[in-house]
Symmetry: C2
Subunit: 173 residues, 2 copies
């Protein structure tokens, strides 16, 4: 799918069919996640692909309100920041690296006809702690976001124009 | 350009030709920036398109080390977070919204044959302050990142495979 079309047709998908996602497509999505720019090329992220249905159910509870779509998803991808790779002079930059990775995966999924919804974890401290505990993540690994992925029950490929001219300034505020 | 190809061919471009970017393409890039998912649909960003060469020069100084490419760029897009739109329960989420917008613009530019380099501003407090002052931004507007955009002096459309299997875990860490 054309890049601009993938962006214009993308919507959050919260209800999925029972169809699984092939390993080939999972790898394409993860490759996209690793293809964004990264601060000083530090690539401050790691990914956990969750296909186990019981674990998806537990994760939907651990990540609080709005994480219900994980229960019907083909899989979840937990995007984490790796603080060991963070820059000493700007450690929070890992948040941006992980956001870039997640957005690339959203678009790659859209390109492959796979729906997704981005479930925020960081900066909600309670979600970060619950997910970290559930997944037994090492000390330096911080949960950032979870993507719930699958084929949309009600596909909607209509393009939207979300441009708002009052959000744009030229040369001065 | 196909979405996955745009991702696989994207590289940071720091040297640009003198060719300008049409308003039509600027609008496509900004539309992409406004087409990503957004926490609770709050769309916590604003954009300043900078075409004035003198201002680009000043901005390259205000944003510190590595911002030199702005001096030769066709234009810069300053991506800002809008704290008035932030969620009271998770205010830092604006950082993710602005990252999504910036990455969508990087990919839209790539799709259009336009090169870019992402110049980090937040979380470097000195850059945030200097840029805020230079651009006379309102109190609630925080500079997040700057994209320098233009046509690459040395175009390189080779695809790269940046997948690293040791960054991926399945069902458990």
């Amino acid at each position: 799918m054309e890049t601009l079309k993938a962006m214009a047709t993308r919507k959050s998908v919260r209800e999925f069919t029972d169809e699984g996602i092939t390993f080939e497509d999972i790898k394409k999505i993860l490759t996209a996640g690793m293809s964004g720019p990264s601060c000083m090329n530090k690539r401050m992220w790691s990914f956990v692909v969750i296909r186990n249905k019981e674990l998806l159910g537990k994760l939907s509870v651990a990540n609080g309100l709005y994480a219900g779509p994980l229960r019907g998803a083909a899989l979840g991808i937990l995007v984490c920041g790796d603080l060991e790779r963070a820059l000493p002079e700007a450690p929070e930059y890992w948040v941006i690296d992980a956001s870039i990775a997640t957005q690339n995966m959203v678009l790659a999924a859209q390109d492959l006809g796979i729906g997704s919804v981005w479930l925020g974890c960081w900066p909600c401290e309670d979600r970060v702690q619950e997910v970290k505990e559930l997944m037994a993540l090492p000390e330096n690994i911080v949960p950032h976001s979870i993507l719930a992925l699958g084929y949309a029950k009600e596909p909607d490929n209509e393009e939207r124009d979300l441009y708002e001219s009052d959000r744009v300034h030229f040369d001065e505020w």
